[in-house]
Symmetry: D2
Subunit: 404 residues, 4 copies
């Protein structure tokens, strides 16, 4: 039998960390023996546990250690241990056995110091710089031959977020998707979170799909932009095209937004809108030329709100502002999410998942869609402060604006 | 080859009746030969067609005739023919070969007169009364031994509704279910239809499920009741229980409707609400006793709005007002739908389908639910003026009230 | 400050009971102080905690005690305390402050003995019989004036089920609803659970909706009935009608189950099927008369499998076998669920929810539907061994049969 | 009043073309007068109509003509008229008033000849080449300055597909999405269509998402590839990554496909799979190196089946085979769809929509997903031979393979 002792501390009882760790140990086929446990008498007191783990093989023991590490459990003999690393064998390739990151706060022990890995992002590697003593997450395609990449699971410490008393929407609703609930109070909470993020100087990121325009919700996003509640906008060609179409022709996918009867004649409007913006050279230029005088992107340009339009294979056109290379788009999005305190994802799947992949677990995320499958998918990705609302986009934004 | 000649008239081109009839003939394995066709030059002119139908067997020909009859095509040799009938062999049993009704306007030829079958209801039989010269739809369980019941397909004429130029929501949206559309104008149309029904002295029927209370939408239904836009309310035990629960405890299924935090302590409130109303003897009595002072059912009692609470096997309690026998409940609902000009079905499947079964095709029906499967199921039942909206119930009612 | 000391024991760490209890205390606005904790070193060792609870008011303290009691936490001063009770003031009415049951194993302390409340059913009252020393759950409509009904929360002990190591489908999947997973192994697990229930002499209950017939899955349910894997069948008029329709006409809702082209002529078949069975006097009689020679209900009659057909307001007909009074149907279902070890709910919402209301938490429940909303609703009702599968009914049953 | 006369011929009654055209005329605010109509006596006889259209303004008349043209109605004075064109003002920009294509068979009249526009693709322009006398669809981003681009609506004829008697799945089911139907016969029809496409030398295109691997359906796609029923595979990084992950580690998204218990340890497997393929230099190279020895892409390489992996912003890695530039990927897909007779889209939204955009209306399209919203979206895009199935992917492919 292979065995080792791990310790774990913090709010390990009420944040469910201890039960999860015990579950994992047994679930993977090992056994545990709780050697010592101290539980804080009150909420604010931290707890501590020392646990002996026994596994039939050293290999399984390593696996168990790797897994429970994600919940903050650290082997005692690892506490003083340094992280292991190897040079990348070639550009775009990690060394075998590379450590694959989570989106949680992570430390690596290097030259007797714990370095914080910056920024937290899931499914990356960790690159060490011995000179600057920095540890950073690096996506696989950006690694260069010779970069020092962390391998194995030793010398790595993860600080899991602590679940706190349900006091507000984010704590209460985590990962909950419900259609049969009063939503007014939740929307109020979201508004309050947005205000608080702005007060603390954080950025608010909006990720939106074209359904936002089709349902007639654009004016509310415009209002949010003008009230300074949007610092960055991530979207695809579709949102921008239909926003421009609405500005130029009053339609969205050929449907007049302000008339009672379907404008069946308008299905080509979106292509004309694309042509017009291509002629101007881009959205910003169309605003400057006075061709584009209203809408979401007009407001972004006027208010100086950054937008990133990432291309996809279903795009018509696309608009000149669209970044057609997906890796390049990802890189720009990666840069832009720095400093984001709250992300609001509305009526989009592709862009929301892509954004979710880039965000640290600590960023508050609100996902709104009328399709529960989309909301489930997005709130189910290991984000710790995700709030999913299955509701109609237009009334959601309308009500949100009232509270802002 | 068996053959016969049918004729068909009205707006048979633009109402798609002619193509459908031709489709059916060929689809069932027969052939057609258009002997004569006159098409109205303009929208308002009626058209006319005479069609020879040939089928390999007399049996198939009869089947074809039975089917195309539902679209108004009548065999020439049938025009002067009387309806056939037989006495019911026993209580609750139709004679073999009974004619099964649609929800369309139907006439039967009896003693050289065309009698209108009253009221149109699908999946019933037709009972003839030779003395009063009346023809009425009769559900199978209500037939009495000896009742004269129509059999076969002869001597029956169906007047299909004509599809008209899309001028408003009901014509435009028929059976359409869409989440990505601006809904404001549709909701405005619904409000206008409701006003117009009331102006013409028609009744508005609301069929609602408990989700209406859970989402905090009750105040809007109360407003509609008070503004005289609800003449009848169909629901189950659930809506009434949670409405009473909200009135007595401020919760719905234990969730406080006006607080930020879940009232986890409240899951038994609904049973206490039931007990309280049982103690009073019923909802009406609870209002009279001053125990129930607000909410949907309080307003119904105060405004004299009829409500029918139909029981189901999932009911807790139930409230004394619930009709636990489903046949009896159906009968009462059948009586109450007379004179209904518009039915608004909100957040309910069981009660909405049951109501849809009872309504003539001519009644405007609006079905609102956040689950597209429910909306599809309800608008897909042969109703000719059904409008389905996939949206959130609370903002829908909030906006509807603004237009009323 | 009001305060008291509670104790809690069992697998309180790995079954998440302790964290939940601490959560509740703080969530409701009280404070805790862990006076003593002993944690089992190994999985099999029980743990124990003694916790001081302080609340600002006695009322809140009572509320906290009532809530955490559902997780097995018992106040020390309550351990020797007797349950309180009052006579029902009238038929069908509980005394004020009645105790509302959960579906968990519950004991009440009466005359210095702990009596097990039989059977566990949620949303009922508890009736005491001092002579026979029995405590039984009683639905509100069955209570008689003078019955002794438990009130308050004292002298009641709940034994929460312990979550165990994920070893099989039921432990692993609890409440999980996923479409993107290999389902073969889960279906195998379900088959094994069914075999094991039968080996132990338990009954298997199938609750099914008409979609089972429409999708052509009937032959598999027939196979299960014949292989003795169905002891009771709960359904509505719809399943039986379409099963009979398929037997008599080869169609289901007018769609031929074995031909390539839609039988558009068949929409009245279901009403003819109803008439035929009414003529026979019932399903059993139709089998005896030789009119019904195949299908699900034919097999039930032949194999002596009980079926309960509960009426609903959307029923056509109905068949003579349908119990149209919902309270009566509920009572019969309540009797029939005794001894059920596993419930398989397929393509049904109404009947599945009604059944779920009646089952103790200890019964394994499998819910299969292609609509995730239905599965979520059913697995989300406090059942502790519920397995939800979002999949197509026909291939599910086909594969299940292969493993049986 | 502006007026003109149009004619329309073909199976205009039973293909619903005439009613649609009349609807459009009135719907847009104009009036019609049917000057002459000849209706084929039998199914096989073509019909013919001459219709006078009157509109209040010349502008509206033009709009009406442009719209009804899509259904094959051509103004008499247009029959001899040449198409109008203008040079593109710059690279990537169409002239104002450019004609926006449908995915229907289209002819343009140029130098007294009707040229077929090749290939049909929606939302493109039409480029004329006077020398080679060719007319081709051209996406906006590919147009070069000076290219002659068709403008206006004159001299363009569209041949709408004729809806035929429902003889098989594709005719019957068009755009129909149903969960409650026997699917066996439909799957058989799909298999027969696939066989027939192959017999006629057509290509079968499969577009698939990673859900195919997660649900354990890969072996069936492998079988189809090996039996020569897949000529091209469109997918994204995800399908390939999880296919490789399954081949290398036996997991998909960390779930073991052949074990009963979740492999919670495996969530990083997909990143290791990516690294491995990057090390090899690509999928093909990994097969040649003997690193990849089974799975979908292994079979593609072995059988010489082309695959196009189009990048998206949510990709991890990506694999070296992924085309990260979306315009480039679109171009390659555009080339590959030539000659495709049937497209099978499974468990994918993004790639299926992108593919649907590129396909002519004449290509048979089957879309399979367990989420009805996806199926509706895909079958609702003007494709005339689209068959949508809401079902589980794994049993669908399993059954399809049995019929192939």
């Amino acid at each position: 039998m292979a065995q080792t002792v791990v310790e774990i501390s913090g709010h390990i009882i009420d944040s469910l960390i201890l039960p999860k760790v015990l579950d994992m140990i047994v679930g993977l086929g090992a056994e545990f023996d709780i050697l010592e446990i101290k539980i804080g008498h009150r909420r604010t007191d931290p707890s501590y546990a020392r646990i002996l783990i026994e596994a039939p093989t050293q290999e399984l023991l390593e696996l168990v250690l790797a897994r429970i590490k994600e919940h903050g459990a650290l082997a005692l003999d690892e506490i003083e241990e340094s992280v292991e690393f190897e040079p990348a064998p070639a550009d775009g390739i990690f060394p075998d056995g590379f450590y694959s990151t989570t989106n949680l706060l992570t430390l690596v022990r290097f030259k007797d110091r714990w370095l914080e890995v910056e920024p937290p992002e899931m499914d990356c590697g960790i690159r060490l710089d011995g000179e600057t003593m920095r540890a950073e997450t690096i996506p696989i395609h950006k690694v260069k031959q010779g970069d020092l990449i962390v391998v194995g699971h030793r010398g790595i410490k993860i600080i899991p977020p602590e679940r706190r008393v349900p006091r507000g929407a984010f704590e209460f609703m985590t990962s909950l998707v419900s259609t049969e609930q009063p939503k007014g109070l939740l929307i109020q909470e979201i508004a309050e979170s947005m205000k608080s993020v702005r007060l603390q100087g954080g950025k608010i990121l909006v990720v939106a799909g074209p359904g936002l325009v089709h349902t007639g919700a654009s004016p509310f996003l415009v209002e949010m932009i003008e009230k300074d509640y949007v610092q960055i906008l991530f979207a695809g060609n579709g949102l921008a095209v239909h926003d421009v179409e609405a500005a130029l022709y009053g339609t969205s996918l050929g449907v007049y937004l302000d008339r009672k009867i379907r404008a069946s004649e308008g299905h080509e409007h979106h292509l004309r809108a694309i042509n017009q913006i291509r002629k101007a050279g881009g959205i910003r230029q169309a605003v400057e030329l006075g061709w584009l005088t209203k809408g979401i992107f007009y407001s972004c340009v006027k208010k100086g709100v950054d937008f990133v339009l990432a291309g996809s294979i279903r795009d018509d056109g696309p608009l000149p502002d669209v970044i057609t290379d997906t890796l390049k788009a990802q890189e720009i999005m990666r840069e832009e999410v720095r400093g984001v305190g709250l992300a609001l994802m509305i009526a989009t799947t592709l862009h929301a998942i892509a954004t979710g992949n880039l965000l640290p677990a600590s960023v508050k995320t609100v996902c709104v869609d009328i399709n529960p499958a989309v909301v489930t998918k997005l709130t189910d990705r290991g984000t710790f402060q995700a709030l999913g609302l299955v509701t109609d986009v237009e009334p959601f934004l309308r009500e949100l604006c009232q509270y802002l």
